[in-house]
């Protein structure tokens, strides 16, 4: 298909553990088109961050393949991968621990340029840093300021500037706004969307906040314990969600809409079970209100409507 920038095929990442393997990412296939955003939602520990990191090869995947612009990046020569790597960047969750406290804002933003050498020459580099800072809403007087002197929102702008200074095509945003206050969160979300429009960026947006994901994404992927349980365009997920976990997740979000106040909530019982050597079959079954014997068989992602995939035998009938 044309226009697809990033694609994974049956991507797996297992971490060794003394009792076996932690199945952090299990058989995930996805496609992100140019200029679009894929939102990845799930509870903590469901493997969404690992997935983001595996796509960038920050964690070497156990199995499966990652394609960038149609080329597999897993079996590439080191030199070739280095070149492609500048096109794929990441914005980290915690603006407090992801910046080196001993570097000033200017040094922090110039660092990727020095490492990747996409721009050479001192004046050109300074120019690039200045432009990026301006784009990200950092006035020039911040040049010589250190991270501890800034609040969370401004630090996250620096984190974003560090990713964007290389002019990437694809950015993995790992919960970029969850550590921020709502009024600052809105500023950063607007900035991310402006950047997307301007540079035709593709995002993979990892979050546990469904309201944020609805705002920013084109497609949404819901993960549970390393597996994809539902994958569909945004509209489908919010209007015709099928998987019991997605339903529970959506009804659990508190909203400010008073008319929804006394709605019937599907409050889930129990908690996420152990991801070490999980049983075959649906991993959500222990918490699922509709669980039956059929759930012990492996569930296959099935297309129930155009581009709407669900891994649940109940929903596919």
């Amino acid at each position: 298909m044309s226009g697809v920038l990033v694609e994974t095929k049956n991507l797996k990442k297992y971490f060794p553990h003394k009792l076996g393997f932690v199945h952090a990412v299990d058989d995930v296939s996805l496609k992100i088109k140019k200029g679009e955003t894929l939102g990845v939602v799930g509870e903590s520990g469901c493997g969404k961050s690992t997935l983001g990191r595996a796509i960038l090869r920050l964690h070497e995947p156990t199995d499966g393949d990652v394609l960038f612009g149609g080329k597999s990046i897993l079996h590439m020569k080191k030199g070739d991968f280095r070149k492609i790597q500048t096109n794929m960047q990441m914005v980290f969750q915690d603006p407090y621990s992801s910046l080196n406290p001993r570097m000033s804002v200017n040094e922090l933003i110039a660092e990727p340029l020095k490492v990747c050498k996409t721009v050479t020459g001192r004046t050109a580099m300074a120019q690039k840093v200045r432009e990026t800072m301006e784009l990200c809403g950092l006035p020039e007087r911040y040049n010589n300021i250190y991270p501890h002197e800034m609040d969370g929102g401004r630090r996250q702008r620096v984190g974003l500037a560090r990713a964007l200074v290389l002019d990437p095509q694809f950015v993995v945003c790992d919960e970029p706004v969850s550590a921020l206050d709502v009024s600052i969160q809105a500023q950063i979300l607007n900035l991310l969307m402006d950047m997307q429009e301007r540079n035709n960026l593709s995002y993979m947006f990892i979050t546990h906040d469904l309201c944020v994901v609805r705002h920013i994404s084109n497609d949404i992927m819901v993960m549970y314990m390393g597996q994809v349980v539902e994958y569909a365009p945004k509209k489908e997920i919010f209007e015709h969600q099928a998987h019991p976990y997605t339903k529970a997740l959506l009804s659990a979000i508190p909203t400010t809409d008073l008319s929804r106040r006394n709605r019937q909530r599907h409050v889930l019982k129990g908690e996420v079970s152990n991801p070490i050597n999980p049983e075959p079959g649906c991993r959500f079954a222990p918490r699922c209100p509709y669980a039956s014997d059929k759930c012990k068989e492996p569930q296959v992602l099935t297309e129930i409507a155009p581009d709407h995939f669900v891994a649940c035998h109940e929903c596919c009938k």
């Binding site: 509870e43 903590s44 609040d151 969370g152 929102g153 206050d181 709502v182 009024s183 600052i184 969160q185 809105a186 500023q187 979300l189 607007n190 969307m193 546990h208 469904l210 309201c211 944020v212 609805r214 705002h215 920013i216 919010f238 529970a248 997740l249 959506l250 659990a252 979000i253 508190p254 909203t255 400010t256 809409d257 008073l258 106040r261 909530r265 409050v267 889930l268 019982k269 908690e271 996420v272």
Partner: protein, 327 residues
């Protein structure tokens, strides 16, 4: 309705090496019996400071109550003796802290930690009865009493928060201060915990102050809401009054506008411009003036008082009667 807690014009400062931080500036709030009050505000607005001052747990030598009064029933918290305070804390007023990962003692079993509250406050209660109380409360919060000999690290985040809640509720307090009890948890677990707290609060007929920055949680779990900005309450009213958005403080209005919600089709969010006022160097007029769309000359000069715009609905703004969104 009867007042349970009455905070009047409270000023609290934190002294640091560089500056004096004005954490609370004329904080006034009443909590009524049986009420669930949502306390909303951004980081640094003074929500936690309010809880700590109520329990007189401000860090010694750094935090200081400059003026104002706090009354619980008929006890003046500011003047109460150390002994009296010890009687209140945990027994009459309990607090649930934000982070369940760090607020439990890692080298005590969870059963002992819950029981400790009873050991301290009810030394006359027969030990057998204390044991049954611990078992009962564990069942209530949804943890098998057989697990009481386990240590905190053997529990997940949601389970730990249940234990913290059990500790806070085992003495059946009259007032529960919950400081962001679900911020560290996932949404599905958050829903479980909040439902649980609501049910327990009702069965003990206590009052609860739920501190949060999530307006959605307030809308679904509270009766009333107070919005805090730069150390004072800027709006107080019932959920219907505040969330119907007929009359609001411009800051509350701004908060509503910057949350992406599940129904709106807006392409861009409208953030509140600027950043929160620096608490060590506050402006002399309205603290929100710099970021406010309704700001006029008067706002920069004199600070407004809380005024009643409807019965029980208070707004701290000179132009409180202006409709939301009007500029």
């Amino acid at each position: 309705m009867e007042k349970l807690l009455e905070i009047k014009n409270l000023y609290v400062n934190y002294k640091t090496d560089e500056a004096v931080v004005h954490a609370l500036n004329g904080f006034t709030l009443d909590v009524y019996k049986g009420e669930t009050l949502g306390l909303v505000g951004e980081t640094g607005a003074g929500k936690t400071t309010m809880c700590l001052s109520t329990l007189r747990l401000l860090p010694e030598d750094i935090g200081e109550v400059v003026s104002g009064s706090i009354k619980y029933n008929d006890i003046d918290i500011m003047k109460a003796s150390k002994n009296q305070m010890r009687q209140l804390r945990g027994a009459e007023i309990s607090m649930i802290f934000q982070d369940p990962m760090t607020s439990l003692n890692p080298i005590m079993t969870v059963g002992e930690q819950i029981r400790e509250v009873l050991d301290l406050h009810y030394p006359d209660m027969p030990p057998k009865k204390r044991d049954t109380r611990v078992d009962d409360i564990m069942k209530l919060v949804g943890i098998l009493p057989e697990r009481k000999d386990q240590y905190p690290h053997q529990f997940s985040g949601g389970m730990k928060q249940r234990i913290v809640i059990a500790m806070a509720l085992v003495s059946e307090p009259k007032l529960l201060l919950a400081d962001e009890p679900t911020t560290a948890l996932d949404v599905t677990i958050q829903a479980q915990i909040l439902e649980l707290m609501k049910a327990l609060k009702e069965s003990f007929n206590s009052s609860m102050v739920l501190v949060t920055h999530d307006l959605g949680i307030v809308a679904e779990f509270c009766d009333n809401v107070a919005v805090v900005y730069a150390g004072s309450v800027i709006e107080r009213g019932s959920i219907e009054q505040v969330f119907s958005r007929v009359k609001n403080h411009p800051y509350t209005d701004g908060l509503f506008n910057c949350i992406p919600d599940l129904t709106s089709e807006a392409k861009r969010l409208t953030p509140i411009p600027g950043y929160m006022a620096d608490a060590s160097n506050l402006p002399k007029g309205c603290k929100f003036a710099d970021r406010c769309v309704r700001c006029r000359e008067k706002c920069k000069e004199t600070e407004p008082e809380l005024q009643e715009v409807d019965k029980g609905h208070f707004i701290k703004c000179w132009y409180a009667d202006e409709r939301s969104g009007e500029t």
